[in-house]
Symmetry: C2
DNA sequence: GGGGCTTGCACAATCGATGGTGCAACTATT
DNA sequence: AATAGTTGCACCATCGATTGTGCAAGCCCC
């Protein structure tokens, strides 16, 4: 209120304390013992810094040291539970290391990915986690040119180490689980099991590969017509289901869906029918979403092990000798109607007030 | 590959082009006409910058200009669809203005909020959107001291302009909708309608106020026992439902739930029972989640108008004369089984490949 | 009491980009 | 041809923090 002035600098503290700026700097960044600053001076400066609410200008420090203390996460998007839990977990891990997480999204667009990476580099991030990038190698090239340590997560590149889910294994287990779930009623025929969603990215390819392999093994055939790639778009997925329904007058008995984004497309289709229309449907879906797990038909989900993947990625990025190889992390099969704990459970919540009259509104509401 | 060297600077370009660093700088930052640099020199430098892959060091520029081009969003958390869509929308809006979004989360902890704000200030963010902060005024003080423009979103403060949802109005509409939905079967009695979740924050208070007002008006009474605040914790919510069930041997006929996080707590409770146990339940819930909207019982949701709130917040933060007042934005009542479009629908997806054999895996899978 | 060692700090260059100012070399004018 | 005005650019201080180096004062010892 009183002092709306600018931020304090080491020069202000220097003037106030009577020491030189370099002494102040040394005290504040902890190198003062090494520089043989006396305990007395240090205490004085620290007290002053505290009373003046000093905070170091990170841009200046970053400029001088050519590192910023920022750790970047490049994401395709925020708005689904897989990526939002990834961001949440990443944030916690970076903070635990005493650094500052910076998250940016690039919309699954190779060009935006490169530009965002350049932008992060422009801010001198110290490390970059490239997650779900459509063109990891393009981003790699930019990072390498800038001498920036980086690692791919979720989608692999060929030029940098990559930590990804074992999508093939996940696909096998998911497909098998769906088939078995259906078989409890009546054996599933090959043409009754479809896969919707997916694109030409590595994850989709691996998932498709597992799908086909298991179908062939367990059901004896694997007709191409059961493959319906619709990209990562909810609306395209809805259109695909509508087209299917218009053609066949019904849905397949069992559907594997390539991501929760596509499953949202299915919701859009669902909205046109009562729940009863789906009572015999069995769905398998990549990526776990707690609410999706409780839809009115069985939804078997594959949860990627976000904590393990990130933990591995942190190890790798710390290792200067890490090779450009792929590290697989096993995903988890989640049965229908399962509410898993998530990263939010680690946050402590305040104790709730005892119930009672708490109608003390602070804003008068326009009647 | 070849040149793993460091990043190029204006001094490199200066040497290569034969012009002075300041000329290079002027050309690259666009101020060259004002500085009467010839078209010829400009083209030369620009071509050079392009061929050398020059990108400006934002820290240096930020240091000199004392602004960074960063726009900060302080969030309590990422991992639910309300906040993740907020982050997604924020990101798009900031990018549309040609600036760089930086998102950080503070776990709904007042202390972490202040530290995160200080950290963002240390990186010289130009503007800060304080979203869902438990202690907006504490953050305000820090911002003000640093001369940083800021605005509260989602939870109001008293010292800075705030854009929030009209939670009272939302609560009234939601409560009424739930009551009417139940009444279609058989009139609801006051003690059959509960509210779970919520804390002592402004949003919870307003929601509770609306809940009580409507209950009193439509149902004639509003017993305190129907108020079950459980904070913003899934597990506490689960415990509350378990305790209720242990006591009463059933659930209330109708439940209003203060946030999707609490609804996740309800899922944890649900997992112990078959869907049939919930066939007569009616739920109203704050914040919209597409999958939650399709749970096997009617879920009426309130969707906060994230785009409108952020748009308003951007207007306000651009207005130097903005007063510390509250701006209410109407939320939207979402009927059960509704799949709304979200911010992801704005992203373009690549056209899907035609269906076919796409088993060209690039990773050999450990058999 | 003088040489040598330690203590405690100040000085100044530096990181990369910016922008105010100064000044040659031209061109136009009378 | 001398003056005035324009064009085109270079010089240099600056933003705030870091860090290699230098140096005075104090202390020890013979």
């Amino acid at each position: 209120m009183k002092r709306s002035g600018k931020r304090k600098t080491i020069y202000d503290l220097s003037a106030l304390s009577g020491c030189s700026p370099s002494t102040v700097s040394a005290v504040l960044n902890g190198s003062w013992r090494k520089r043989r600053i006396s305990e007395k001076t240090a205490t004085l400066v620290l007290k002053l810094a505290d009373s003046q609410q000093y905070t170091a200008n990170r841009q200046a420090r970053g400029l001088r040291r050519s590192r910023s203390g920022l750790v970047g996460l490049l994401l395709p998007l925020y708005d689904n539970r897989y990526f939002s839990s990834l961001a949440q977990t990443f944030e916690a891990m970076v903070r635990a290391r005493g650094e500052c997480p910076i998250v940016a999204s690039a919309s699954r667009d190779p060009r935006a990915e490169r530009e965002t990476a350049e932008s992060l580099i422009a801010y001198s991030v110290d490390e970059l986690f490239i997650c779900g990038a459509t063109d990891p190698d393009g981003v790699h090239e930019i990072c390498e040119k800038a001498g920036l340590r980086h690692v791919n997560v979720d989608l692999p590149g060929t030029r940098a180490p990559s930590v990804i889910s074992d999508n093939y294994d996940g696909a096998c287990r998911l497909t098998e689980a769906v088939i078995r779930h259906c078989a409890a009623t009546e054996p599933l025929r090959p043409e009754e099991l479809y896969i919707f969603g997916g694109r030409d990215d590595h994850a989709s390819r691996e998932r498709l590969r597992g799908f086909r392999a298991v179908k062939r093994t367990l059901l004896g055939a694997d007709p191409d017509v059961c493959i319906q790639p619709t990209g990562y778009s909810a609306n395209n997925t809805r259109l695909a289901f509508e087209a299917f329904f218009a053609r066949e007058g019904r849905l397949p008995r069992a559907i594997i869906i390539n991501s929760t984004i596509n499953l949202e497309g299915f919701l859009r289709f669902m909205a046109g029918f009562p729940d009863a229309a789906f009572k015999d449907l069995v769905v398998g879906c990549y990526d776990y979403d707690p609410f999706a797990s409780f839809l009115p038909f069985p939804v078997i989900m594959i949860r990627q092990n976000v904590e393990a993947m990130l933990a591995r990625a942190f190890e790798i990025i710390a290792d200067p000798a890490a090779a450009a190889q792929i590290h697989l992390v096993a995903p988890e099969l989640v049965p229908p109607r399962t509410a898993l704990a998530g990263p939010l459970d680690a946050l402590k919540d305040m104790p709730p007030r005892p119930a009672g009259r708490t109608t003390d509104a602070t804003v008068a509401h326009p009647a």
